[in-house]
């Protein structure tokens, strides 16, 4: 290793009670037996200190990939590599975690060992999209590392204009609010689009995120092009004995102030005997009362998912939330799953055909309008898709009678089904 870079600014981040990533990188520099790793850590610290001093970043992208894929690696070449040569190439491999981010310690060690062999010894569980990020490898070693971990069951995630690594909440594995099989949905969708994950050929990124209930712990409405959120359509379950226990423990005022009056659609009423009355027809499944009283209140039995599309962050037309495109969908049988996969395929195909370069699905919907989008993916309009009907009269409305007839016909068919 060259002389240790002096890092007075970074050293300031070794103080304080929260675990320090700087101390971690220094451990690699000072204690790691491999000279390659300690040298890389030294150069990395040097470049980072230089960034802290000048308030600028010094990594540039490029093109690096493993054989057969066009995606999954974030190339980083240093602009100041002459001064910090051992981290001159410092690429990240994005690896898909198991749905729900479960690991055994044995598997974590094995991954860590492989990365020590080929990379920097730095990793993150997980990046914002949801990948395990193995940070810091040379171009040559990205292939070696991938070959090694691919042999024992790990594959790269997405990067660039492609289907990205998915995300799902802890869900049915440990949460009483789960309404769907998050892991199965996540894996069914992602592994149906493996080719689109590994070979970027879409207008821009496309993200699937799966939340088991409307608490939406994976931020799918705000972050996913396709959000699948568990819900139910029958009555929520009320254990009146537990309601009484809760009232006794917390007091009526607490229950009225924190449960009854917080219901967004005024569906709850505390009866004189301290049991709960629920207007289930008007419950919007917001989850608040279930969150406050998880022992007393639970989702119903007729479970399924609501699907929203078009969520994304700022670039380039500003933040967009997803919009409901399927108010409710059962996800029990293999046929149900096929329907979900088909919907995702229709959506990605239509967007691939009609999206502009670097245009997210939500931006396309913004540009062409929801009605054209629904038409393109073969879905019918539904009043659950809007917050309000249009307030503008400047809309051409010939063909009204046909549309109205279609609506009644669908209602009839639904009633007969």
């Amino acid at each position: 290793m060259a002389d240790k870079h002096v890092t007075p600014m970074l050293d300031e981040l070794e103080h304080g009670p929260w675990p320090s990533f700087i101390s971690g990188i220094k451990r690699l520099r000072d204690q790691h037996p491999q000279e390659r790793i300690s040298g890389m850590a030294n150069s990395l610290l040097g470049q980072l200190e230089h960034s802290y001093e000048t308030r600028k970043g010094y990594w540039k992208g490029g093109t690096v990939s493993v054989f057969g894929y066009g995606s999954g690696i974030i190339p980083r070449f240093s602009e100041v590599g002459d001064a910090f040569p051992e981290s001159r190439e410092f690429h990240t491999l994005r690896v898909q975690p198991p749905a729900g981010n479960y690991y055994t310690t044995g598997m974590l060690r094995q991954l860590g060992e492989s990365w020590e062999k080929h990379g920097s010894g730095l990793q993150t569980f997980h990046g914002q999209t949801g990948n395990i990020m193995f940070i810091g490898s040379t171009t040559e070693n990205t292939q070696h590392f991938f070959d090694e971990i691919n042999e024992y069951g790990w594959d790269l995630g997405g990067a660039g204009p492609c289907v990205r690594t998915g995300m799902c909440c802890v869900g049915a594995a440990r949460c009483e609010q789960s309404n769907i099989d998050e892991i199965k949905i996540h894996r069914t969708l992602l592994n149906n689009f493996t080719d689109d994950v590994h070979r970027p050929a879409l207008p821009y990124k496309f993200k699937f995120k799966v939340s088991g209930c409307p608490n939406d712990c994976v931020n799918s409405i705000e972050r996913a092009d396709c959000a699948i959120i568990g819900t139910w359509r029958d009555d929520m379950k009320v254990d009146q004995e537990e309601v009484k226990n809760f009232v006794e423990e917390k007091g009526r005022k607490y229950v009225i102030d924190n449960v009854i009056t917080r219901c967004p659609t005024n569906c709850l009423s505390l009866k004189d005997d301290d049991t709960l009355e629920v207007d289930n027809r008007n419950c919007v499944k917001c989850m608040h009362c279930l969150n406050v009283m998880p022992k007393a209140l639970s989702p119903g039995d007729d479970k399924g998912a609501t699907i929203l599309m078009g969520g994304k962050r700022t670039l380039k037309v500003g933040d967009l939330m997803g919009t409901v495109v399927v108010p409710f969908m059962k996800l029990d049988t293999e046929e149900d799953y096929e329907k979900l996969t088909e919907l995702a395929e229709e959506t990605i195909d239509f967007w691939a055909e009609n999206g502009l370069e670097h245009e997210r699905c939500g931006e396309m919907i913004e540009r062409i309008g929801l009605v054209n989008f629904l038409d393109g993916i073969g879905l019918e309009v539904d009043p659950n898709m809007v917050a309000d009907p249009t307030t503008s009269s400047y809309v051409r409305m010939d063909g009204w009678d046909d549309e109205a007839e279609k609506w009644f016909k669908e209602k009839l068919e639904a009633a007969e089904a």
Binding site: S20, R55, R109, R174, K316, G318
Partner: protein, 362 residues
């Protein structure tokens, strides 16, 4: 090279995609998949879930430095082997969770985690771990660092991470550019550029695909130009909103500036459907110096907001619920932050965010 040699030289990938999670899942969770009845919060950082079968599992959540060196990763595994059952998961905010099947394992595990410098907490009405991006450590377009900002801030709000002192949970995020990869948060600390890009005209024609850079600009402020006889790009600086969207596809359009790249703070982003519909975060403070290594000015503002929220919000109100109840004038009054013309939206659909009523609190 013959075709056969090519095959030998390049191992074809096994396109296995997303791995099966059940092989890595604690047996109690596997056994009770989809069969959970309720949960309790025995103490900060610990969850107890009970299944209909009567089985229970305890989860111990700990904050880490997120960018894990392999020594720390192995240490977390050692702790998992010795004091837990060898099964872990990570939350989307990069906390590690250990699952154990007996209550008696909880205490010793917490002691061991804390002894090794990890921080148990981040559940229920705490300030959760700040979700963040890569920053100067690895990103190609960052205006600031991510891990450093987060480390400095978590040092200051660690008691709020370890305790249950907030009216409801507080999710914080940071982002190192205006694309905001950090996502929505109850409080978000994001980069905000304040000057147009500085263009290196010698490089543009070699490095940038000019039409796609022109197309990337949200306000059509970029146009092709000949500068010093070379094809380049120019920016209408009066139109430019200094967002930096042109910088990723065209690195010679440097947006980051040691002085003029600032931080801003946004509040009220909420992903959950609980009570109100999900909401985006709103600007509350800007012009904050991007001040490494510890960014004290940004942390001071965050702490001010947290204090006002803690003292004034009702139980279960997220920051968005709280502001909806008390109104923005009171928010600025309670936090002591200035309200400026920059808080008023001038973007698409802006008038939807204006007050079209006489609803005013006096």
């Amino acid at each position: 090279m013959s075709e056969k040699q090519a095959t030998i030289a390049h191992r074809p990938p096994k396109e296995t995609g997303c791995p099966d999670a059940f092989q890595y899942m604690h047996p109690v969770m596997r056994r009770n998949y989809g069969q959970w009845a309720y949960h309790e919060d025995p103490r900060p950082g610990v969850l107890k879930h009970v299944a209909h079968s009567g089985d229970a599992i305890w989860t111990i959540r700990a904050g880490t430095q997120r960018i894990l060196d392999v020594t720390s990763l192995n240490l977390l595994c050692d702790i998992g082997d010795k004091y837990a059952d060898g099964y872990v998961r990570f939350t989307i905010r990069s906390n590690i969770e250990y699952m154990v099947d007996q209550e008696s394992k909880v205490g010793p595990l917490i002691v061991e985690l804390e002894k090794n410098g990890f921080v148990v907490g981040g559940t229920k009405n705490s300030v959760a771990m700040i979700s963040h991006t890569q920053g100067w450590l690895h990103c190609d377009i960052p205006g600031t660092d991510a891990s450093g900002v987060v480390k400095a801030m978590m040092d200051e709000v660690i008691d709020e991470f370890k305790g249950w002192n907030m009216p409801n949970r507080v999710h914080m995020t940071t982002s190192c550019c205006q694309i905001n990869c950090g996502g929505q948060g109850d409080i978000a600390i994001n980069v905000q550029h304040t000057k147009p890009p500085k263009i290196n005209h010698d490089l543009v024609s070699n490095v940038c695909e000019r039409p796609s850079v022109v197309a990337r600009c949200p306000v059509a402020a970029i146009r092709p130009a000949q500068i010093n006889g070379k094809p380049s790009l120019e920016v209408d600086e009066k139109k430019c909103i200094c967002c930096g969207a042109c910088y990723p596809p065209c690195p010679p359009m440097q947006i980051n500036d040691a002085e003029h790249t600032k931080l801003s703070v946004w509040v009220g982003g909420n992903h959950s459907n609980a009570r109100g519909k999900p909401s985006f975060q709103k600007l509350v403070a800007a012009g904050i110096p991007n001040n490494p290594p510890r960014w004290p000015e940004a942390t001071a503002i965050v702490k001010k907001i947290l204090r006002a929220y803690r003292d004034d919000a009702k139980d279960w109100e997220r920051i968005s619920d709280w502001v909806e109840r008390i109104g923005w004038p009171r928010f600025f009054e309670l936090t002591g932050l200035p309200f400026t013309k920059f808080h008023i939206n001038n973007w698409k659909g802006a008038r939807n965010s204006l007050n079209a009523s006489t609803h005013i609190r006096f």
